[in-house]
Structure formats: structure tokens, C-alpha cells
Subunit: 302 residues, 2 copies
């Protein structure tokens, strides 16, 4: 089944302890699309400026990613610049130039309106709802958000959450959204707002999923060389939603596998700058690491 993703397509300038990359392809919808397209066709809605050229577009070519919905506006593409601490656990945003992204009003092409799976990237909850009004009865709506909207537009966000099936946030965000410190209580409060499945991303500490039938905990893959964490969360989202779309449903067993698939894709993403590792990744490598995750977590019953 096909996936509609709406989010940012950007240039990132990233400095890590291991090097610096200048104006490389980034943005939530970029990472998401390339990860998801390993599993299902992706319809991409976003906006870029006139500085976004064939070199950047090449990342989406030769994959089942439709870019009809990637609008081109006069002006510059969204640019984010950040610098990571020596341990990669903290990052400072040096600048955020919204540029054309400031005026982003998602327009869903008619051909996209029957997408069965929708992923609402981290944008204004009002725009997220506007996207939902343009699509026809999607099977599953997944959604990302961030502290900026939780604090800045709580009422709009609440309204959007009522229409969401799966919410993907990090541990700080689920606490902020619920006002509860304890993660189990926080998850219950957030699920009561609408999403029947809540994914809590904890970076190097893995992922917790709170679902209708059960809870599920997955570690992050212990990597020897983490090069650049930028985009790991969005890549997780792409692997997760992509795997669900390929399965065509969100049963408990498939949700669990999808969490591992998201973690698998994210573990590759951080091995290089930008989408570099994802763009040379093969399905065989993905499946091999998925199996390593099983080896990493499996234990026998007593």
C-alpha cells in the first residue's frame, strides 16, 4: 500500500566530532521517504527553493518515491545548521533558516489522495490537520511532533491527535505532552488523547511502543561508530511506516516487527552524514541487521 508523507525537505549543515558536512540533503520527509521506499511506494509532499537541484533530486530517483507533490517555490530551501557535542548526546542549533518552508501550505495532488498510509511530519498541527482534510479515508495516520508545537499550539495539537492512529515522539516530548514523568502513566495519558499506538523514541536507549494489545521494548543497535545522528528519528519513522504499509495492517506482531525495522534503518542512517548510508543501502543488508536485532534481544523461556 502507498504512503503519503508531508514534511520538510532541507539542506543541513552538520558538525560532529568526526567532521563537517555543508548544505547536504536533509529534512524529515527526505529521510522518511528514502527509508520507507525500501518497503512501499511513497508520495512525497514538501517544498524546496530554486537552489534545490538535480543533484539533490537524485536521492529520490530510481526508488518508488513520487515527487509530483514536491513543490518548487521562488527563494531558498529550508536550511538547518547544528553542532553535536563530543558524545553526540546533545546538539546545538546554530541557525534555522526557514526560507520557503515558512510559507509551506501542503497541497495534496489528486493522485495522492487515496494513499492508504499517511505520515504527518513535524509541522504545524494546523497544517497536519489540513493535510488530513485533503485525503480520503486513509487506513493509518502516523504523526510526529515536537516541543515547539506541544508548548506553542497545545489546543491545535490536541485536535490533530484525535485523528491520529500512531504518534511517534521522544521521551521528553511524551512527558511534556502528558505532564507525567512516569513513562507508563505518560503513555496512557497520551493514548487517551487519540493515538491508539504510541512510539517513544529514546535515541541510543531504543524504543518503547505502547499499543492496544501490548507494550513492546526494543534496544537501539549497539554501534561502534556513530557518525551523525541527524535524521535517525525520521529514518526510524520511514522504516516503521514503510514496513506497516508493506504488510497492509497494524496487527500487534507486525507493529513489533515494524519497530525493529525502523530501528534497523535508523542504525544505518547514523553511520554517515546526510542520507549517504541510506542511499547505498541494500535490502539484503537491512534483512541481515534485522536478524542481528533478533540475536541481540532473543532469550529462551524458562
Amino acid at each position: 500500500m502507498s504512503i503519503l508523507v508531508v514534511g520538510s525537505v532541507a539542506f543541513d549543515t552538520v558538525e560532529t566530532p568526526f567532521g563537517k558536512a555543508e548544505k547536504v540533503l536533509g529534512g524529515s520527509a527526505s529521510f522518511f521517504s528514502v527509508a520507507a521506499a525500501f518497503f512501499a511506494p511513497v508520495n512525497l509532499v514538501g517544498v524546496v527553493g530554486t537552489d534545490f537541484g538535480e543533484k539533490e533530486m537524485a536521492a529520490f530517483r530510481g526508488r518508488p518515491i513520487d515527487t509530483l507533490g514536491l513543490e518548487r517555490m521562488d527563494g531558498k530551501t529550508f536550511h538547518w545548521q547544528g553542532k553535536y557535542s563530543y558524545d553526540l548526546n546533545a546538539r546545538d542549533t546554530i541557525c534555522t533558516d526557514l526560507n520557503v518552508f515558512e510559507f509551506f501550505k501542503p497541497k495534496i495532488p489528486p493522485a495522492y489522495r487515496q494513499s492508504a498510509f499517511v505520515f504527518l511530519g513535524n509541522i504545524d498541527p494546523l497544517l497536519q490537520r489540513d493535510v488530513l482534510e485533503q485525503v480520503e479515508r486513509p487506513k493509518v495516520v502516523a504523526c510526529d511532533t515536537m516541543n515547539f508545537w506541544i508548548k506553542g499550539k497545545p489546543e491545535e495539537l490536541r485536535r490533530t491527535l484525535r485523528k491520529v492512529d500512531v504518534l511517534l515522539v521522544n521521551d521528553a516530548e511524551v512527558r511534556q505532552l502528558s505532564g507525567e514523568w512516569n513513562i507508563v502513566k505518560a503513555a496512557r495519558a497520551v493514548r487517551a488523547m487519540g493515538p491508539r499506538t504510541l512510539i517513544v523514541k529514546k535515541g541510543e536507549h531504543g524504543v518503547l511502543m505502547f499499543g492496544e494489545e501490548s507494550s513492546f521494548a526494543a534496544p537501539a543497535y549497539p554501534l561502534e561508530n556513530v557518525f551523525d545522528p541527524t535524521g535517525a528519528g525520521d529514518t526510524f519513522g520511514g522504516g516503521f511506516v514503510g514496513y506497516l504499509a508493506a504488510a497492509g495492517h497494524t496487527g500487534d506482531a507486525v507493529l513489533r516487527q515494524a519497530v525493529i525495522m525502523g530501528s534497523t534503518l535508523a542504525s544505518f542512517c547514523v553511520e554517515a552524514f546526510s542520507l549517504d548510508r541510506l542511499l547505498c543501502l541494500t535490502r539484503a543488508e537491512i534483512d541481515e541487521r534485522f536478524r542481528l536485532f533478533r540475536r541481540l534481544t532473543h532469550f529462551e523461556d524458562i
Copy 2:
């Protein structure tokens, strides 16, 4: 097979956001022994003062815990006082009165010298080695340590580690001990110091095990009510070593189950002050939560 444990037996005064407990039973060897005794006989070596009465000793009675090696000295029992932050993730030590523990020189009773499993609690690495010199060819030596010894007695600790099979530390300690930030590299460096198996305890984020045959990752059980984290690490150690001692070996599959058993016991420990929850715990409750851990982490192969 029987387990020899050497460590602190103490009074704890603990304040959490949920209440305060004054001079209740604590100490690494206490938590360890009660947890381990669910699986195998325990020989306890420690020291208490004259203020350690029948009420405290009752915790060890009616269980396979031999207290012949629990020395009684003139003076007061080791007393630790701490206060936890609102989120239980940080704690301040308000006072540490070593009392008789300052003069602790472990004396291993002859009846204990053939213990197959040895757990060296967090004491001076010189004393840990002294314990090993008093025992006869144990099958497995497990060991805990802390930042105080890593910084204060690095050479002594290195010498002890050469004689250790399984080292249990937290993530900050493994980084400090190795001088490596990346946990995979840190684990390799620490394993090169002697321990063939390294257990990295990450509190609410679970446990990583780096072994000869494989690595293993286990989450912490997501609890709705964490009351007091004191002793969780030592209780993990007791469940872990206890399970190994019952199996009688440290094969890869048993090590993995032992990590889950340690995590299971620790998840009960934090539900109440002191050893209160462990002392009313049944084997049926333990086995049930072990199975919940399987439900929490299991996913199907693709």
C-alpha cells in the same frame, strides 16, 4: 551450586518523592543475598555492629542464606543516607557513616571456601582480591565496583579484574574504566582487562551484556510505580548470579536468561522501600514477570 557474596550490610535512610524510610535494612550484600536465594544457597560475608538486631536478621532467616560469615563488631552498622530527585533519576548522598564497615577485613569461613560462584560486592579491590585468595577454585567470579575505586585505586582494580569472569557496572563506570565514550568500544577495552562477560547496567534503560559469544540487550520493565530505586543494581546482581548458580554454568543462553532474571528481581525491588517487596515475593510472581519480559521484547523473524 552455592554462592559466596562479600559486601556491605547496612542501614539506609532514604527519602524519595513518595516518602521517607529511617534506618531500614540495606547494603549491597543484603539485596544481593535475598534476590540470589530464590535460586541457590547463599553464603553471606559482611560486618554489622551491635545495633544490628534480630529484626534485621529476620530478613535472612527462612531462606537458604547462611549468615555464619556475617561478623558482628563492637560499634555501629554502616549507615547511608540519601535523597532522590523528583524523577528518581538523580540522588544526593546526605551522609555515609562507614562505622564498623571501615574496618571490614573479609574472613571467609572454611565452610564457604568451596563456593562455586563468588560475588565480590563493591568494596576495595584489594579486599576483593584478598577474598579470592581465601577461596578454592570458584567456577565463576562476578564482581561489582564503582567510580570511587576506578579513580582512587586503578592499579589495584586492574589486578582484581584479571581474576574476574563477569564484571557488573553501570554505563558511566564502563566509560570511566575504559576511557572510551562509545559503549561498544568501552566494552571491548574492559573485556580485554580480564572479565570475559561484561554487564552494563543502565537503570531505567535496561542492561547490555557483552559476552564471548554474543551481545545481548534487555530493557528495564516499564513500571507505573517506581517507589525507591535503592538496591536495584545489587538485586539485579543477585537475580543474575543466582540464576547462573542454579544452572551451574555460564553458557550464552543461560547468561541471557540470567540478565532477564536479574532485571525481573530488580523490577520488584524498586516497588517498595528497603527489601520490603523482595521479602514478600514468591517464585510464582518472579516467573510470571519473567514471562512478561518475554512478551515485552519478543518479535517474529521476517
